[in-house]
Symmetry: C2
Subunit: 362 residues, 2 copies
């Protein structure tokens, strides 16, 4: 069992990472004294697969609980679903000391965090992420989110959980595509902040792809530590530190948006975005070709795409341009100046951006 | 023009109070640098009456704006209305630097604050309260709220505005019942914290009821100062200081709930709650009869009820009992130990509570 800590004064919390730790959840929650009645938000697949085990862990320590099933779809990140969940929560919570458990991937984590942030002006909640992407990224840091028709994540709050509880056993039920999607964020952390992790990913791809528990524990712990540290110093993305987490995301988001969110998934789009950002870094002479190739090879090693298919450049540029205008500021790219080292570059010319998108165009 | 300040570090803000200050709104907003495009949430009555003047004040300083009309009803404090407002806000805010103006009474303030708290994980907003109740109470302190079918204010956040701008001219369009409802909270502030204000209210009822500008400015400023001070030291009602604001509200809420929120309005219910709390204070020998009569007389002076009609005691006890169980703690009453002095008393016996409710039963 490994631990990291997000330091935010009274709102500090632990991230606990381990293999087969679910059975110890009850004890951990009891120590936190966050309530006696758990309102568990999850989907049908996860409840069927892990519901009994989760129930046992809670019952053993005398917790009362209720499962609320939502659809396993990005569509669950809607005001409508949140409203339905809140109504059921209000019914359940009468005369109880309720806390919320987000049991699932990014969608469930974002939705549950939002519900927790607004119910009775803030209710305790715990993240139990079940995907690699959620364990290394979305479950940590307190960003909660709902989508609107007009755009993703437009509704939300910064609201920290009381605990992040990452059992790497959950990752064993992920298919290759889901694992790869998470690996894209893992590679991002290594590239921007952790040279040792980068080498570990280069040397242990077989173990990781075979979902070796120790290897998974190692990468989840390393990434959690980075995310915890960055969140501790820049909770609300106001002092720039959190910006480096956007490495690969500027063009990545444009690729996702251009594909109408049904072309490339988030991890794949971020991989392509990282390759474009690496190309930009090379063109701006921040890194040499050898290093650029090293990053590209690592991305390929984990079955992530390095070439765009089916989305014309014009569409990506348009989505990117829209994004830039949306924020009302000049553009801003997180680039690499070495493995584990970043540089923020502003006002990159459209010509250079186009060249880098050409690089990833198949 | 009078000013108070809520001190919360980076989230500090001013409360500006005055007569006919609306024309200076643009200049004040410009100084705050909170955006260029105002999304104004209000109701039809207020837009028809003050929309042109508000528009002029904004146009004069180059602000762009958009009015969003919601129904003038507690029903607007719903997730449904919030969702509709957010969608329109998302459309309006594209490529703009948006901030929100809550232009109205408590319902509009609570709804707008909620929308501001969740749109893009927090958007700047300004409170321009138009009722006495909102100017002295709900617009200050950052409590935002929506209702559920199961209960009032169950959804919300603590999210502070960037400015509270109270023009007492708005109060001139209030009818007697609306003014009295606000006066109930004014009397509460005086009773718990401000002996001088209490005497002022005793000596100047004619002026106040006639809506004399100077008198209104004085009471709004005095109450704002108290609320600002309490909010500054206990933003999230965690260290007990904010509790004293609940004077008259424990039984008051039970009266509102027992009447299905269509019997007594908030101000009337709080008045009855204050008389019951005064009676309890006297029974517990915290104050003498002379002082109790003084508070009761002040309440009557402003046309507020001192006797309950049509709601049987059993119903109130039940609502109160439910409320107590709801919080999962023992009961807790804010009582008076003098004019401007409070005492928190826990575990008051049901018999004593019944005696005090008998006191207000007509």
């Amino acid at each position: 069992m490994l631990k990291s800590r997000v330091n935010l004064g009274k709102r500090s919390y632990e991230i606990i990472i381990g293999e087969g730790i679910l059975s110890q959840l009850g004890v951990t929650l009891k120590r936190l004294a966050i309530g006696t009645d758990a309102f568990i938000i999850t989907n049908k697949f996860l409840k069927d697969k892990y519901g009994a085990k989760l129930s046992r862990a809670l019952l053993k320590e005398g917790f009362n609980f209720h499962f609320k099933i939502v659809a396993d779809s990005e569509k669950s990140k809607s005001i409508q679903t949140a409203s339905m969940v809140i109504s059921e929560l209000a019914k359940f919570s009468k005369e109880k000391k309720v806390f919320i458990i987000a049991f699932g991937g990014g969608v469930i984590g974002d939705l549950s965090g939002f519900v927790a942030s607004v119910y009775k002006r803030g209710t305790n909640y715990v993240q139990i992420p079940t995907t690699l992407l959620a364990q290394v990224d979305s479950a940590i840091g307190g960003k909660t989110a709902l989508d609107l028709d007009l755009g993703k994540n437009l509704v939300g709050a910064f609201y920290q959980p009381r605990l992040v509880f990452s059992d790497v056993d959950f990752l064993k039920s992920l298919d290759n595509k889901q694992l790869a999607s998470g690996m894209s964020e893992v590679i991002k952390y290594a590239a921007i902040k952790d040279k040792k992790l980068f080498s570990f990913l280069e040397d242990n791809s077989k173990k990781i792809i075979a979902k070796d528990s120790k290897a998974l524990e190692k990468i989840v712990a390393s990434c959690s530590k980075i995310k915890a540290k960055i969140t501790s110093s820049d909770e609300r993305e106001t002092c720039g530190l959190r910006t480096i987490l956007n490495f690969g995301h500027t063009i990545g988001h444009a690729i996702e948006a251009a594909g109408g969110y049904c072309g490339y998934n988030h991890g794949q789009a971020v991989s392509l975005g990282m390759i474009a950002a690496i190309d930009l870094s090379q063109r701006l002479k921040l890194i040499n070709q050898k290093l650029a190739v090293r990053v590209e090879n690592l991305i390929k090693l984990y079955g992530l795409p390095s070439k765009l298919k089916a989305i014309p450049m014009a569409k990506i540029i348009k989505a990117h341009y829209h994004d830039k205008k949306f924020s009302g500021k000049e553009n801003k790219f997180v680039l690499l100046s070495g493995i584990g080292k970043t540089r923020i570059v502003r006002n990159v010319s459209l010509d250079l951006i186009k060249e880098s998108i050409k690089k990833i165009s198949g």
